[in-house]
């Protein structure tokens, strides 16, 4: 089996691996560093103790040597005394001190005195080490030092490991040595090692258990999250995650639940929005249809309007011509009326002349009448005179009477003339009045005709303007027609776009229906079904769907289907 890279390890393995590594490290450190250190320390202590013992012996020898130097005794005496003193020295459990010279000749040995005076250079331990030669070498090289070797314990033949310390006393060329068995050190070391191993094993077990528990604690929510995520990935939004803890994993689970809730909300909204979009698209389609109808009607009415406008244009043109003709006629009438007016003025003038003449005649007639009156008076006076004259005046009275009758006839005639003239004057003035009235009327007629002419001109101008306006209207109607056609094409485009929109909404619903929002599968299915009603053979409005879309009625859904087919 191929080993996975660390990154791909499971969290349990990872966490336990930490523990394992720690344990191994501790073990290694204990075994490789701590134990040798302890051993070294123990050995060092032994060495120090040996050193002290060797120093004591050397000090004793030195003391004797100094006394010999002072002359208390001879040097040989000193040698003997030193040998005896050192021979009797014992420490620990019967450990001893021996002395050899630099040529590995035994000078003094308290346990094996038979060796004294003999060279022990050939003496070797069971492993073949020439221990005394080694000692002299150390003493010669460093002055003092340790030598390890095997030596049988007192009373035993089997060799045991032994550590000896040698110290050189130069004046005499003696090498003072002492040794102790170090097998107890090894025993102690074994005891310590065993204890450490036991403790480490217990620790390792505890650590591993704890780390396994911790790892499990960490792993469990993660597994839950993974599971939930997998379900999410499959579109299942019904996942319910229970966050039991407040740590990061718990927060992760809580966040995931929130995320799921959020997604659920979004999906629900999306579904709703898709439905609404679908409905809206259907409504747009409906509106477009009616709009299209309206546009068709509009186009028809535009055509009608255009035709009517053309008719109107023709009639306005004829109106303009007629009004121009009428204006001309009115102008002619005005000329005639003006002529009549001037004739009337002439008539009035003539009448005035007649009146003047009549007045003159009347004046003359008055004069005649006056004269007749005077004549009458004269005749009367003459008659009176004649009466007073009596018989003589009779003939005169006759003449006076004749004159009076003449005067009376003259008066009568004058009166008749006056009457006639008055009559004629009356009639003339009446005629003048009538003529003036007629003239006035003619003037009024002239004014009226002028007004008529002006009005006719205005009518002609207005007709022209109307004609221009109608032309503009025709142009505008053409534009309206174009706009209507453009509208129609736009409506078609809008219809297509609405259908496209509906299709998009349906596909959106299809996409969104990937998400399982409700526990009830039936609802989800109905949602999916309502999302694509066009594909259904019979649009049965189902109760769940009504529940999902409470605003939408069955009729509306039928309409939607119709539109989908449309």
């Amino acid at each position: 089996m191929k080993l996975k890279s660390f990154g791909n390890w499971k969290i349990l393995s990872k966490i336990i691996s930490i523990s394992v590594v720690t344990i191994v490290m501790i073990f290694a450190i204990s075994m490789l560093v701590l134990l040798p250190f302890i051993q070294k320390k123990l050995m060092h202590e032994k060495e120090a103790a040996l050193n002290d013992v060797a120093d004591i012996a050397v000090t004793l020898i030195k003391n004797l040597d100094e006394r010999a130097q002072k002359g208390e005794f001879t040097e040989e005496e000193a040698h003997v005394r030193a040998k005896e003193v050192v021979r009797g020295l014992r420490y620990a459990e019967g450990e001893y001190i021996f002395i050899i010279d630099q040529d590995a000749k035994m000078i003094m040995h308290p346990i094996k005195p038979e060796l004294e005076g003999k060279s022990v250079a050939d003496s070797k331990d069971p492993s073949g080490k020439a221990l005394f030669v080694e000692m002299t070498k150390v003493a010669k090289d460093k002055g003092e030092g340790t030598v390890e070797y095997m030596w049988p314990k007192p009373g035993q033949t089997a060799a045991s490991p032994k550590l000896s310390y040698v110290n050189l006393y130069k004046p005499w060329g003696w090498v003072v040595g002492t040794g102790i068995y170090i097998d107890d050190v090894t025993k102690e070391m074994n005891t310590i090692r065993f204890g450490i191993i036991i403790a480490l094993v217990i620790c390792a077990v505890v650590i591993l258990l704890f780390s396994w528990i911790v790892a499990r604690k960490i792993r469990q929510p993660l597994v839950e999250a993974v599971d939930a995520s997998n379900r999410l990935a499959q579109g299942d939004l019904t996942v319910a995650i229970n966050a039991t803890t407040c740590d990061e994993t718990g927060q992760l689970l809580g966040a995931m639940q929130e995320m799921i809730d959020g997604i659920k909300g979004v999906v629900n909204q999306t579904i709703e929005a898709s439905h609404q979009v679908s409905q809206a698209a259907d409504q747009i389609s409906e509106a477009n249809q009616s709009f299209s109808q309206k546009i068709t009607e509009q186009a028809a009415s535009v055509e009608e309007t255009t035709a009517t406008m053309e008719e109107m244009s023709a009639s306005i043109k004829s109106t303009a011509e007629n009004s121009r003709e009428a204006s001309n006629l009115a102008r002619n009438s005005k000329t005639l009326a003006d002529g009549g007016s001037s004739v009337m003025e002439d008539t009035i003038k003539a009448m005035d002349d007649i009146n003047k003449s009549s007045r003159k005649i009347a004046n003359i007639s008055d004069v005649i009448e006056e004269i007749a009156f005077q004549t009458n008076l004269l005749a009367l006076n003459a008659a009176v005179e004649a009466a007073r004259a009596g018989e003589h005046g009779k003939g005169f009275a006759v003449v006076a009477a004749e004159i009076r009758s003449l005067a009376q006839r003259t008066t009568q005639s004058a009166k008749e003339i006056n009457g006639l003239i008055e009559d004629s004057s009356e009639k003339t003035s009446k005629g003048v009045e009538l003529a003036q009235e007629l003239s006035k009327k003619l003037t009024e007629i002239g004014f009226s005709i002028k007004k008529v002419t002006d009005l006719m001109d205005e009518v002609a101008a207005a007709s022209q303007e109307q004609s221009a306006g109608i032309n503009q209207v025709n142009t505008a109607m053409g534009q309206v027609d174009q706009a209507t056609q453009a509208n129609a094409s736009l409506v078609e485009e809008t219809s297509a776009a609405a259908e496209e929109l509906a299709a998009q909404a349906r596909s959106l619903l299809d996409v969104v229906s990937f998400f399982k929002v409700e526990e009830d599968h039936h609802k989800a299915a109905s949602l999916r079904r309502s999302a694509k009603p066009a594909k259904l053979a019979s649009p049965k409005p189902s109760a769940p769907r009504q529940a999902a879309l409470p605003a939408k009625s069955a009729a509306a859904s039928a309409d939607q289907d119709d539109f989908s087919e449309f």
Binding site: F373, Q374, L377, L380, A383, V384, A387, R388
Partner: protein, 181 residues
């Protein structure tokens, strides 16, 4: 204008009649009156009458007739008839001679000079003592109509006579204060 009609229908019967007297007939509001022709001095047109202060209403003033100052009265006013003071074109003044002097009488028109025989003249009617009829000399029948013959001396009372005499006396002192009639 009746005078002409009347004039036209006059009868010249007095020409050869016995004891017939000439009378000047005139009209006041279409009533026909007459004076004795001998008492009539002249018939003139109505001319400017100079007003004299403090005179009774019917005394209109004075006129200058060829240098002679003559007082003038309105006969219709004097008789209390309607239309007094309304003068027309052919209103005339009859200048009469009577006992107190000469006086002008304003009449509507002078109709004619008539010869009326005494047989055609009746005495004035008696309306009783209370009604004064003494200024009527008689009533003359001319055809179907009646003409009242007036006595000039009686028509003008003493008052007027005195005025006439005063006017005649003081006439030269009067200033000509003419007004349009």
């Amino acid at each position: 204008m009746n005078e002409f009609e009347l004039g036209g229908t006059q009868q010249r019967s007095g020409e050869g009649g016995d004891n017939g007297r000439e009378y000047v007939t005139f009209s006041l509001n279409a009533e026909l009156y007459a004076f004795d022709a001998l008492q009539v001095q002249e018939i003139i047109e109505l001319t400017t009458v100079t007003k004299v202060p403090h005179l009774p209403g019917h005394l209109k003033g004075v006129i200058n007739l060829r240098g002679t100052i003559i007082p003038v009265i309105d006969l219709k006013q004097k008789f209390g008839m309607d239309g007094a003071g309304q003068y027309r074109k052919h209103t005339c003044i009859i200048v009469t001679e009577f006992s107190a002097g000469v006086m002008g009488l304003i009449v509507d028109t002078v109709s004619d000079i008539m010869n009326i025989p005494a047989a055609n003249i009746s005495p004035p009617p008696d309306f009783g003592a209370r009604i004064n009829t003494e200024f009527i000399a008689g009533m003359a029948k001319t055809g179907d109509s009646l003409v009242l013959l007036l006595n000039v001396d009686r028509v003008l009372t003493d008052e007027e006579s005195s005025v006439v005499s005063q006017v005649v006396e003081h006439a030269p002192e009067l200033q000509t204060n003419t007004t349009e009639t």
